[in-house]
Symmetry: C2
Subunit: 308 residues, 2 copies
């Protein structure tokens, strides 16, 4: 794609990532009963591309009007809390997904998985606690963040994580092993498993910014297309990259006889599919009244061009 | 204890239980991707004492002022949603707690546990999904329930479920096997593991009723003492009752070399402890300005006198 933009994603994302890491550091407890804080922090801190957080902040900045100073402050804190909560949900899903009864994986973000490091029982509890923590982070007491926004974020993220989202997609994934899926079935699975939380990231940022409903609709299209593109590229990397670059076990989907975009349409077909999806995603932004979508466009392009 | 009351708990609780079961039936999806609804419904419906729901409704009715008709309606719906959410959290914790890497139990509520019936991977996902569903139920869109109440309930229940509550207590429980705990350490563990969610049940009902802060404080004391009494009785029943009456495996704590109130103070000492706790619980209600606490008092008495 030939999108000409003077926007430089690197410094933008470095700055946001530093802020997000500081929030994760602050809102994941340093002390918890029976040292449960240790596997919690191990599972979340010090790794990960933080794509979901960047989408929250990108959508927030695309939607925010920089007038009232005090309002800007609590709205930005809400976005950081939403970004943190979504990273916690994502991290919990990885901890549980890696467990022996699921994918039985030993490597994640270049480190031993949580159950390898801390045992299965603590891995189970760690995931459970991270999910609860997400909703704790979204509902600060004595905060300027409006109850309306707190409740809306809880609802959005719970729905994206639950049976109509990520967990539902995991269940489809479990039952799809060894079955032929057509493209529609495969995309339906990924819309739930990965797409729902990526889409929720974009919508969460937009809710924090207080964007109008029509722009929420455009951002929903953007998030949905981007989410699917992300998964298509994941399927390609599972075949083409090696474990040391990915930071997780490569080739495991093919090995597990899971249906993928590559098994369905080949590497070139899948690459083309991802390009079309990202074009659709960026088209949705152009159709919106949002002005500063540079960061979102750049994140979308990075998603198709990533190598890990 | 000699508390004379004309209040009959049986018809009161039968009526509330019918309502709560109807809500669980309605808010647990009948359809979900890959039939995830089946283990979700299996884990929650058709069993359980529903103590937590009854506490929510008892506290709600103790606190509600029966004036404005429309307000009463959404406040009561909020209480039913809170009761449902807390049952979902409780059910998820049982599903995960029964898994092979935790207690490895095969019997729950007189039925095979979820992982025995549906496999470990689905049991893991079922628990995860039930936790998310709790927060979905608490945040209905287009509802008269105020965002303030929705956010407050999400925060209360997330904190009770997380590292400073149930999951934290589970972690302490895991690490306490084979260790001698003194009474303070044992009560600290149970305050987290069981007490936090029981206390949150009482507080959730009171929040839905809109009770004043001083009464919330009294209800917190009530819930905390009741929660501990519940666990003391659980420890006694683990020794004295048999599996067919309990609907779960009896004697497993003693067998697992877990510290219990019975191992610490004997059956008689534990029974006395429970009586004192319930007396304290009911004293807290007497200190409050709540008028109709008959149901809460009766529930507390049933907790110490239960045989399963």
């Amino acid at each position: 794609m030939n999108v000409i933009s003077s926007f430089d994603l690197e410094p933008w994302s470095q700055q946001r990532l530093a802020e997000i890491e500081a929030c994760l550091e602050k809102w994941i407890p340093a002390h918890a009963p029976a040292n449960l804080n240790e596997p919690m922090r191990y599972a979340v801190l010090g790794g990960g591309k933080r794509l979901r957080s960047l989408l929250v902040m990108g959508a927030f900045e695309a939607g925010i009007h920089k007038q009232a100073c005090e309002e800007l402050e609590w709205r930005r804190e809400a976005a950081l809390r939403a970004a943190t909560a979504i990273e916690l949900i994502h991290a919990y899903s990885l901890v549980h997904d890696d467990m022996p009864c699921m994918d039985n994986d030993v490597l994640r973000r270049g480190k031993p998985t949580v159950h390898v490091q801390f045992g299965e029982a603590l891995a189970l509890l760690t995931g459970d606690t991270l999910q609860a923590l997400a909703f704790e982070v979204l509902t600060p007491e004595h905060s300027l963040i409006t109850p309306y926004l707190q409740a809306a974020l809880c609802g959005l993220i719970a729905r994206a994580a639950g049976h109509r989202g990520m967990a539902g997609g995991q269940a489809v994934d479990l039952t799809s092993v060894g079955h032929d899926l057509n493209e529609m079935q495969l995309s339906q699975m990924h819309k739930l498993k990965t797409g729902a939380l990526l889409e929720a990231s974009v919508l969460a940022g937009a809710l924090c910014a207080g964007v109008k409903d029509s722009d929420l609709d455009h951002l929903k299209v953007f998030g949905s297309a981007l989410g699917l593109a992300f998964q298509v590229i994941d399927d390609i990397l599972d075949v083409t990259a090696d474990s040391s670059v990915l930071g997780k076990t490569a080739g495991k989907d093919a090995h597990a006889d899971k249906p993928t975009y590559v098994s369905l349409m080949g590497i070139e077909g899948a690459k083309h599919k991802a390009d079309v999806l990202i074009m659709n995603a960026n088209q949705a932004l152009l159709s919106s009244d949002l002005s500063t979508t540079d960061a979102l466009v750049a994140i979308a392009l990075r998603v198709v061009n990533r190598t890990y």
